[in-house]
């Protein structure tokens, strides 16, 4: 085959269900021989934050924000039927019962398949999220121009 087809996904949402959809498409795209990049911005950054440790940010407002909006793949909630965590707990349990990969598994899998995970610098700046708050699978930080550069010659570009 000639040059690889590209798939690029903006992950704006930090909801568990949407994150799942994004990673299903990313890993499938990689399996189909596509070059895949995922650009995480705003609440989507929560998906790629480390699950452990605090997030060191400066200023009271940012400290509060990162406390309230801690993030991490294991803290994501469903966009519907969260029901103070009960719905999310049930969904995770059902997924586990049918041996379905968790978001953590999907991140590892996507990374091993060569999917590029990129975090948005602007949102990191506004929210005061330091680079070391992200898991090791995150390749780099970049801006809108990087995403559009990818999207320009991507066969498929999605916003989730």
């Amino acid at each position: 085959m000639a040059e690889k087809e590209k798939l690029t996904i903006v992950v704006f949402s930090g909801d568990l269900d949407r994150a799942l959809a994004a990673f299903i498409l990313a890993t499938t795209g990689a399996s189909m021989g596509m070059e895949v990049s995922m650009f995480f911005t705003f609440w989507g950054l929560n998906i790629i934050k480390k699950n452990r440790g605090g997030i060191k940010s400066k200023g009271l407002m940012r400290k509060m924000l990162n406390f309230m909006n801690r993030g991490g793949s294991q803290r994501l909630k469903l966009s519907k039927f969260n029901m103070f965590g009960l719905g999310t707990w049930m969904m995770k349990r059902l997924m586990k019962e049918m041996n379905y990969p968790s978001i953590d598994d999907f991140i590892t899998m996507a990374h091993q398949m060569g999917v590029k995970l990129v975090a948005c610098t602007t949102t990191c700046g506004i929210m005061g999220i330091p680079e070391d708050a992200f898991r090791s699978e995150v390749e780099s930080l970049a801006g809108a121009a990087y995403f559009l550069g990818e999207a320009r010659d991507a066969r498929v570009a999605l916003f989730i």
């Binding site: 085959m1 890993t27 499938t28 990689a30 399996s31 189909m32 021989g33 049918m98 398949m113």
Partner: protein, 77 residues
């Protein structure tokens, strides 16, 4: 149908059968046939689509009871 390798995907849901097939294909030699056994009906549409995207050949899809067997031939490296 005769196959050179078998991949058990019973109990796995989308996208895992496709992800595992793509992974397994790296071990196959050109011309070899892989039998994928699955019970997620999605594979009947997904595997032909995967073959179309990757250029490999989907030879046959058999269904017996709840089990689906798909035969895929590796046509290039």
């Amino acid at each position: 149908m005769k196959a050179d390798h078998t991949l058990d995907c019973v109990g796995l849901y989308c996208p895992m059968p496709i992800v595992k097939t793509a992974e397994k294909f790296k071990e196959l030699k050109t011309g070899e046939v892989l039998e994928v056994v699955a019970d997620d009906k999605g594979i009947k549409k997904d595997m032909p689509a995967w073959c179309q995207a990757t250029g490999h050949e989907c030879l046959e899809i058999e269904e017996e009871g709840g089990e689906i067997k798909v035969y895929v031939k590796k046509t290039h490296e």
